[in-house]
Subunit: 339 residues, 2 copies
Amino acid sequence: MKQKITLKHIAKELNVSISTVSKALKNSEEISRDTKEKIQAFARLYNYKPNNIAISLKNKRTKNIGVVIPDIVHHFFTTVIRGIEQYANQKEYNVIVCLSDESFDKEVINMEMLANGSIDGFIMSLSSGTQRKNDYEHLQQVVEQGIPLVLFDRVTDQIACDKVVIDDQMGAYKAVKRLLSSGRKRVGLITTEDYLSVSYKRNLGYEKALAEFGVEYQDELVLKLPSMEVDEQRIADFLKNARPDAVLSVNEIFGITAMRLIRDQGRKVPNDISVIGFTDGLLSQYANPSLSAIRQHGEEMGREAAKMLIEKVEGLTDSESFVTKILEPTLIERDSTIN
Amino acid sequence: MKQKITLKHIAKELNVSISTVSKALKNSEEISRDTKEKIQAFARLYNYKPNNIAISLKNKRTKNIGVVIPDIVHHFFTTVIRGIEQYANQKEYNVIVCLSDESFDKEVINMEMLANGSIDGFIMSLSSGTQRKNDYEHLQQVVEQGIPLVLFDRVTDQIACDKVVIDDQMGAYKAVKRLLSSGRKRVGLITTEDYLSVSYKRNLGYEKALAEFGVEYQDELVLKLPSMEVDEQRIADFLKNARPDAVLSVNEIFGITAMRLIRDQGRKVPNDISVIGFTDGLLSQYANPSLSAIRQHGEEMGREAAKMLIEKVEGLTDSESFVTKILEPTLIERDSTIN
DNA sequence: TTGTAGGCGTTATCAA
DNA sequence: TTGATAACGCCTACAA
């Protein structure tokens, strides 16, 4: 077993001092050509690579980014991670992924672990537990310690930090406007309760579009589920009782489920009911009929978050001033809507 | 901004030595009750937490696991990560995720970065680039350096290390047997070329089941695509020309796509053609009709891999002997197959 | 041109 | 009971 070699080994082997080796490997002018060549050759031969941990300790910089997300088995978060990785890798950062599992406690524990030197900064999206509890003390701590933080998608304005979001209100607005423009009269909304920041904003967009078209808001056309769990019974009842002729769903699973239940109830998508869903993941693309969707641009969001974070980490950006980058959602028209 | 506090700060503040502080915080018997209480109170007040990096350097143990996978926007890998996280978190390990993007070069670069002290061990699934190139030098290096390695799903027998796989051959066998038992005569296979270890084994299972039922293997009933990209045209041609009455697909996207094309060609699933797909992700569940699938037990695979790795890392397991854990795939019956 | 020494934050050994 | 010292691996200011 070839043990990893250190400066010390090389120094002893070649009868020079550690600092000479260090300098030689950095091609320092101070060291004679002969010595450098000898040392570099030896290092190459034994495949010397500096120890990241030692360098981190010395530099107080780990080149690691901590990413804390609620769930990884979720297309949107997964695309965000991909975006983060893209940018981070190119800047030679590694990504440590932690899952909060939608739980406040896990979010806190994970962040505390990482905050003790393991990472240079955080990129995160709040767990539903945290948003429900409305307690951001752990984020505040991190910020006060001077650890850069970028929040994405599920954010809070109670913390001053950089943020990247899509304009959720605009997304919902676009969708509902599109539905009303195509002649739909009873546009339903399947969403979650308001504590989730994104749901709240999407609900606003829904209302705004209705208002703009002079359509009165009707409670019975809005189904607010307590969580992101699919509750088929409630969705089925909603469809039957409220009799919408169009539905906007706050995520694609609700949308797909609604489409199936609509068919079960003997109505047709898109002829009888149009459906649009947030998120635009694989399900929307491959559904039958394919689901028109609000695309959230996860990869771009991830790249943007990583960029903002790394700029803060490397001090390229004023550490006291924060920006919120708002990406514009796109409406992707597929087969679940009529013109 | 509250800077992170160190032993040194505490020592200076309380006029004791660093080592006294260190011991006091570990509740050492050596230190007097008074001193301990004073120091502990102070530490609590200033929320002292030891620096992970310093501890890593000292202990030569990072409590980080490196996970290298081909792609993260992929339900199966994502469930594996979740399984890894579950086990790792509970053992207080963090997970560093790197994406090889199906590229040999990226895989090598990522591993080299992490191997320089950032992690205690690797869990990985080979990129298609690596399997195509059939070059495992980088894995060999890691192993020779004494870094524990666990391979999952896409593995190679050219490297001696722990492995976790599902029995891919068995999975395909089960599926094809099921199709033949229900009276199907022309069972097609949509797969990728053999360089992908899992495809190869699934192809074997397909052949085995045919043989067992005395059905002759026919080239025209097997479509081997060059990569995991969906090539609709080739799939459509295949369906039209080979006229299978059942299809097994090596992943769910091929399966879903086939179902749609079948319908476009005026045939019905499952009445005219049964379809079974590997992977069992969201698409299979929510497809219409829902897709019968071979479940790969990603989460369990992840937990198992993490367990094996951490046991090696912590020396609970002989570092010279390796096991391959084979999980049994499950056939999930849904609406795309008849009885 | 090369080497010494100190420090990053922690722990462990040994001395006081 | 407390403290000094060395060590983990690396870097760098300064001395030789």
